[in-house]
């Protein structure tokens, strides 16, 4: 029983790490621009697809393909901000949401057109499995978890310790005051979208290596990402980290001990319960 619980916790950590990265991307965009960036999942998958394409058809080593895909993903994220979100910046937040839905369809369509409808798996060649007593951990999972932690720490350092990071926080907290500090509020959204998309693409690559990329996977991820945000508190970085880990493990435990058919239902019910007890989320600020 104990072994099973431990194994399930480890099972949940990998997907939890992916949730954290997706949610961090969503939460930065939301915190700074107030946009529910629904297309984030599809754009993340675009990055994953691209890595696959470069690593297979173009014969690049995976480690070389990743930076190229990251760069392309960042470019796409920035384009999306400039071309689609910026025009609706000052409109009702519903409009930005609808734009996000439209973008999701477009990016999904582009992914299908460019990469087809067959699922793809990014080849890593990492198939060793570590065993600790009764617990098994595939090396790929371990690397994914470690990479997720490294990325999260790197982002925290960037936001807390660099001038640009502080400017991003300042814009999130008070846009007008940030202008008065001399922050260029037209470039900040670009940086934010770039950073958020980079995290998303990293998550997309992890999904592509650990699992697979296929039509519709991105949309499923972004819904979970939003569930994480609600669980942890919209706009809160620590909330996204805690929420993502909690959701990943909850799903794993729910599937293993309650019902695999209803594991998503259980995950959403947990989210709704948290919301009822703490409407601002686990680590959100009180209104």
């Amino acid at each position: 029983m104990l072994i099973e619980i431990l194994q399930q916790t480890i099972n949940g950590l990998a997907i939890g790490g992916v949730y954290v990265l997706i949610a961090l991307g969503l939460t930065t965009v939301f915190g700074i621009l107030g946009i529910a960036h629904f297309a984030h999942g599809s754009i993340s998958m675009f990055g994953g697809y691209l890595t696959y394409f470069l690593a297979t058809s173009q014969g690049l080593p995976v480690l070389a393909a990743i930076p190229v895909a990251l760069a392309a993903g960042i470019l796409l994220g920035v384009l999306v901000e400039v071309l689609a979100y910026r025009p609706v910046r000052n409109a009702n937040h519903i409009n930005a949401f609808i734009v996000a839905l439209g973008l999701t369809m477009m990016v999904e369509g582009i992914n299908l057109q460019l990469f087809g409808h067959e699922q793809v798996v990014i080849p890593t060649g990492l198939s060793r499995v570590f065993r600790f007593g009764g617990i098994t951990v595939p090396e790929l999972r371990l690397y994914v978890i470690v990479a997720a932690i490294v990325l999260v720490v790197a982002m925290m350092i960037f936001v807390e310790r660099t001038k640009t990071g502080q400017a991003i926080r300042a814009v999130a907290e008070n846009r007008d005051a940030a202008i008065l500090m001399g922050v260029n509020v037209r470039t900040i959204p670009l940086i934010v979208f770039g950073m958020s998309t980079a995290l998303g693409v990293a998550a997309g690559i992890m999904v592509g290596a650990l699992f697979a990329i296929a039509p519709g996977i991105g949309e499923g991820l972004v819904v979970k990402g939003f569930a994480v945000l609600i669980l942890g508190g919209l706009g809160s970085f620590p909330g996204a980290i805690l929420g993502g880990t909690v959701l990943g493990i909850t799903e794993s435990i729910a599937a293993g001990f309650i019902s695999s058919a209803y594991k998503d239902v259980i995950a959403f019910v947990v989210m709704i319960l948290v919301l009822l007890i703490r409407p601002q989320g686990l680590l959100g600020r009180a209104p």
């Binding site: 099973e4 194994q7 399930q8 099972n11 949940g12 990998a14 997907i15 299908l112 409808h117 067959e118 699922q119 793809v120 798996v121 198939s127 499995v129 065993r131 098994t136 595939p138 999904v207 650990l210 699992f211 697979a212 296929a214 039509p215 519709g216 996977i217 499923g220 799903e251 794993s252 435990i253 729910a254 599937a255 293993g256 001990f257 019902s259 695999s260 058919a261 594991k263 998503d264």
Partner: protein, 404 residues
């Protein structure tokens, strides 16, 4: 009658004959395809649509369909139904109402197929279902509907017998059990295993978009089963095989996934797959295929620059069956007669799949065709045909007739 009038009548008759015969040479029969051409179902739908188009070209090149004195060249219109019930209804309504099409082929996916099947009985049209495996499509005895692919539980019965014979008693199932026909397959397996004194100790579920099966597998590992049975679409199922190995489960693995080597090797290594059984209809697999199958594979690959999906000949065979039925009925307009002729059809020589006729007919009274089932095993990077599964199409046909 005056002479004048008589000459005029003769001239008119001659003109009619001439016109008629000249028309006969140019007659066209439009058939429709409703199938998933985009979206998730396109993996199955698109090759089916391609297969119908290829069959049409072959038939046209060989002289078309002959009905009495007339020869019909086939024209294919294909609409996308996105594997969505509403879209499928719209597509078929458009084919019938607007394009005046009477023969509709394709249908890869169960939901959209069931939606169309629910109203096709009231239409002057004939519907030929391909890859969609949901059993209830042919339990309603719709007179103008036939299906080339057998229901999943027909195969499940054979698979159950096979597993029981291997001697494992406690079987854990992991599959897309939220999908009707997969659940039916498992029910059939369970019935056969129980007969041999075994049992199914777990029925865990994954959904189409799940890729992480470790929670379910960890639970199953804790139950210590003798064997595991994996049923579901190949995309998620491949992960079950890989992750079971990663979790250190060294028990026999049976499956019903119909995935190709290429599809599995995207996800797993060949070593991870070694020894896995796939218990399924004998579809287009080169080693088991007939001469027709090899030719089909070659022609399709040449024409579309991609391998045909294993289930795509279900659609290819539809058009040859339709051609034979129309020629037997001697009409393209009377769909009732064509539907009746389909039910009385012997297996046409050009078909790819290895059908097991019931009472000498390709389609039974329910409009259902049966192919043979086979046990395939992954050996050194390839699916190897090991043996035919004991399948009794006649008995199953009788069972199917009792359902509604």
């Amino acid at each position: 009658m005056s002479k004048h009038k008589f000459t005029r009548a003769c001239a008119a008759l001659a003109l009619t004959l001439v016109a008629g015969s000249s028309l006969a040479a140019e007659k066209k029969l439009t058939v429709g395809v409703a199938d998933a051409l985009t979206g998730g179902g396109a993996v199955y739908g698109l090759p089916q649509a391609n297969a119908v188009k290829m069959a049409a070209e072959e038939i046209n090149a060989a002289g078309g369909i002959k009905v009495g004195a007339d020869t019909y060249k086939i024209d294919v219109i294909a609409y996308d139904d996105k594997a969505n019930p509403t879209e499928a209804t719209n597509a078929v309504r458009k084919l019938i109402d607007r394009d005046g099409v009477k023969y509709i082929l394709g249908f890869c996916c169960s939901g959209s197929t069931s939606a169309v099947a629910s109203f096709i009985g009231n239409e002057k049209a004939v519907m030929l279902v391909g890859n969609a495996a949901e059993r209830s499509i042919t339990t309603k005895k719709i007179p103008n509907l036939v299906r080339t692919r057998p229901p999943a539980d027909y195969t499940g019965q054979a698979a159950g017998t096979f597993i029981a014979r291997k001697g494992q008693k406690r079987i854990a199932v992991l599959g897309a059990l939220d999908v009707g026909f997969y659940a039916q397959y498992v029910d059939s397996v369970e019935r056969e295993i129980k007969k041999a004194g075994g049992e199914i100790i777990a029925r865990e579920v994954f959904s189409l978009k799940d890729r992480d099966m470790t929670p379910q597998l960890t639970k199953i590992r804790g139950l210590n089963p003798d064997a595991i049975l994996v049923v579901g679409y190949v995309e998620p199922a491949a992960f079950v095989y890989r992750q079971a190995v990663e979790l250190g489960m060294n028990i026999p693995r049976y499956g019903f996934t119909s995935g190709s080597e290429e599809q599995f090797l995207r996800v797993t290594t060949s070593e991870q797959m070694e020894g896995v059984w796939d218990l399924r209809p004998t579809e287009l697999t080169l080693l088991s295929a007939s001469k027709n199958g090899i030719a089909y594979h070659a022609n399709y690959t040449k024409k579309y620059n991609a391998s045909p999906s294993p289930s795509s000949p279900y659609a290819y065979d539809q058009l040859y069956a339709l051609k034979a039925a129309i020629e037997a009925a001697g009409t393209v307009d009377n769909t009732d007669a064509v539907a009746k002729a389909l039910r009385n059809l012997a297996v046409p020589p050009q078909v790819v799949m290895q059908y097991q006729p019931v009472d000498g007919k390709m389609f039974d009274v329910n409009g259902q065709a049966y192919t043979s089932n086979g046990a395939f095993q992954w050996q050194k990077g390839k699916w190897v045909f090991v043996e035919d599964l004991p399948s009794d199409s006649k008995a199953y046909s009788q069972f199917l007739s009792t359902l509604n």
